[in-house]
């Protein structure tokens, strides 16, 4: 087995990550309840994206992985965003 660098994340670190995630969840629920105007949806999605990034980086260990994997994951999300964007060129201009 070559280049095996498994950084082991401590339990403490895992708890911290969880706490942050729970906090963000609470935030998004609150944001909805408080109705921060036109940006509510954007905010909810933004918070979700932050959460997803955290899960990817820490729980899924992307932080410690080969660079190529990080590039791939980034690329895949970008690709999906572009596809949605292009579809909306149709729907927004009808």
């Amino acid at each position: 087995m070559k280049n095996h660098t498994h950084a082991v994340s401590t339990d403490r670190a895992n708890w911290t990550v969880l706490l942050i995630l729970l906090l963000l969840t609470t935030l998004s629920v609150l944001a909805i309840k408080l109705q921060v105007g036109a940006f509510t949806v954007a905010l909810a999605l933004l918070l979700a994206s932050v959460k997803v990034t955290i899960v990817l980086t820490y729980f899924m260990h992307l932080k410690f992985e080969q660079t190529i994997l990080r590039v791939m994951v980034g690329g895949v999300f970008l690709l999906f965003a572009i596809v949605i964007g292009i579809t909306f060129i149709d729907y927004l201009f009808r």
Binding site: I68, V76, L79, I82, V83, I86, T87, I89, D90, Y91, L92, F93, R94
Partner: protein, 536 residues
């Protein structure tokens, strides 16, 4: 190499019996399993194609009812697209040669590889079954457009499941190839020392894994629509039929590049070998493959120009469609320059490869006529489209495949086919092909719609010529297939490197031994150097 016995052990004979084939995780054997399955399905669908041509010889009903005809082009399209050409080249030649060409003993996940073959067979059989189950075949066209496909009282759900299952097999193959290329290259084989066929497979594999899931979920939604009346696409329930078309083409346009990219990879191997000259423009060819894969992902809307899309997205998609033609152009010019100044030997593989260029150019330029907004209005859903994609799929991917099989045949079987026989079959194939599809361009421009069982007598000349072409084509195909099938067992023994190729597959014995290499080779320079040995 130390093989001395008269029949050296190789991947074909080191174990025998049907069972040893059906359970083998050897990439070469799996490749052959795909080859045999695909050939059978191809012949089945081709015969349907012929029957359709006979039906269209004259206006009105000739040999079948409208119902049968509609079912027939549907199943012809489904088999050809989902069962033959999408898996086709990658699964056959990719499996057999990818590991050898990058100096590996096998793919990254051999068992998964065998598993994808079984999924493929399961999907394919399901696809055929959908044709016969309950006494009538699905008749939606291979595009399954809603709302018709959500209402038509036929075996659409089975056909959808088949396409779904086949997609899964395609994903697993693509996944396997990407990991193989990333992790299993021989020592010294940097990315830019990798031959171009593996490069084209790499680009293809990304499309396979990133586009196929979209069709998967789309087909699931159509099934849910049919089974539970969910209403994603049914306007009566608030659904949106045009959204279906978006989803369908988000997959199916990139899928056309899944068909053509490996074929381009194959001919890119053939030109240097038969000119004994390095590939011209290695780096541009690599990047054009990647560019086709990437930009090809964003042009799906060109299938929907008349669907009432917004004006903005129409011109946007049209513009991108034109951009995606550029990498193809780059490739064509590089192939020509590869031959230029070489020592060109017109053996059957090269003959097929240059026919590929000719037919692909015609198919590609008619693609441009379709991609242009004004002309698309006239041509959309006419026989012009039918001619375009037969030229580019059959003429491109098909002839690429034929080129590949003639090129690698001696490596796969260790025997040689008959050249004269091959040239004559080519003559019939090529003539028949052009006679079959060229008239469709003409009547397409005049307005003959596709998927028409019956037609206006003014189109008859074209339709009739086309049918004659189909008969000539058959003769060629039958000749080619029988030449290969016969000589696979009975042909004279071939040398290990009959064409003097320099990529790794030509450095191993023919047929290759079970684990390809006694010793994993060490690569010291770029591929395609005809004045240096490939490995140290």
């Amino acid at each position: 190499m130390t093989y001395t016995s008269s029949e050296p052990l190789n991947y074909l004979n080191h174990k025998t019996g049907l069972w040893s084939w059906l359970t083998s995780s050897d990439h070469k054997r799996i490749g052959l399993l795909y080859l045999y399955a695909i050939t059978i399905f191809f012949c089945a669908a081709a015969i349907l194609g012929l029957l359709m041509r006979i039906e269209k010889m004259a206006p009105g009903q000739t040999i079948m009812t409208a119902q049968t005809y509609n079912g027939m082009f549907t199943i012809h399209g489904i088999i050809m697209i989902f069962i033959v050409v999408i898996p086709g080249l990658a699964a056959v030649f990719g499996n057999i040669f990818l590991p050898i060409m990058i100096g590996a003993r096998d793919v990254a996940f051999p068992k998964l590889n065998l598993f994808s073959w079984y999924i493929y067979i399961f999907g394919a059989i399901l696809g055929l079954y959908s044709q016969f189950a309950n006494g009538h075949s699905p008749d939606t066209g291979w595009t399954f457009y809603v709302p018709y496909s959500a209402e038509a009282s036929s075996n659409v759900v089975i056909a959808l499941t088949a396409a779904f299952v086949l997609g899964f097999s395609s994903i697993l193959t693509g996944l396997n190839f990407i990991v193989t290329i990333h992790r299993m290259r021989a020592p010294g084989m940097t990315w830019f020392r990798m031959p171009l066929f593996p490069w084209s497979l790499y680009a293809t594999a990304w499309i396979q894994i990133l586009a196929t899931p979209i069709i998967g979920i789309t087909l699931l939604m159509v099934m849910a629509e049919r089974l539970f009346h969910i209403g994603f696409f049914d306007p009566a329930l608030g659904g949106d039929p045009v959204l279906y078309q978006h989803l369908f083409w988000i997959y199916s346009h990139p899928a056309v590049y899944v068909m053509i990219l490996p074929a381009m990879g194959v001919v890119t191997e053939i030109f240097p070998t038969f000119s004994q000259k390095p590939v011209f423009g290695y780096v541009p060819i690599v990047f054009s493959s990647l560019a086709i894969a990437l930009v090809g992902y964003f042009v799906w809307g060109h299938h929907m120009f008349t669907s009432g899309m917004s004006y903005e997205s129409r011109w946007f998609f049209s513009l991108l469609t034109f951009i995606v033609a550029i990498p193809s152009a780059i490739k064509v010019f590089n192939w020509l320059s590869t031959m230029y100044g070489g020592s060109v030997d017109l053996k059957p593989p090269l003959l097929y490869a240059i026919s590929f260029i000719f037919l692909f150019t015609i198919g590609g330029f008619t693609g441009l006529a379709l991609g242009s907004l004004a002309t698309n209005i006239q041509l959309h859903n006419t026989d012009f489209v039918v001619a375009h994609f037969h030229y580019i799929i059959f003429g491109g991917m098909g002839f690429g495949f034929f080129a590949g099989i003639h090129y690698w045949f001696p490596k796969i079987y260790g025997r040689m086919y008959n050249f004269k026989w091959a040239y004559i079959s080519w003559g019939f194939l090529f003539t028949g092909f052009n006679l079959l599809y060229f008239p469709l361009f003409v009547i397409g421009i005049q307005g003959m719609p596709r998927r028409y069982f019956d037609y206006d007598p003014k189109f008859q000349t074209g339709e009739f010529l086309s049918t004659i072409g189909a008969f000539i084509l058959i003769a060629g195909l039958a000749g080619m297939i029988s030449n290969l099938v016969y000589h696979a067992r009975k042909g004279p023994k071939a040398e290990a490197n009959p064409w003097h190729g320099v990529t790794l597959e030509w450095q191993v014995p023919s047929p290759p031994p079970h684990e390809n290499f006694d010793e994993i080779p060490v690569i010291t320079h770029e591929p395609y150097l005809f004045d240096k040995p490939a490995t140290k």
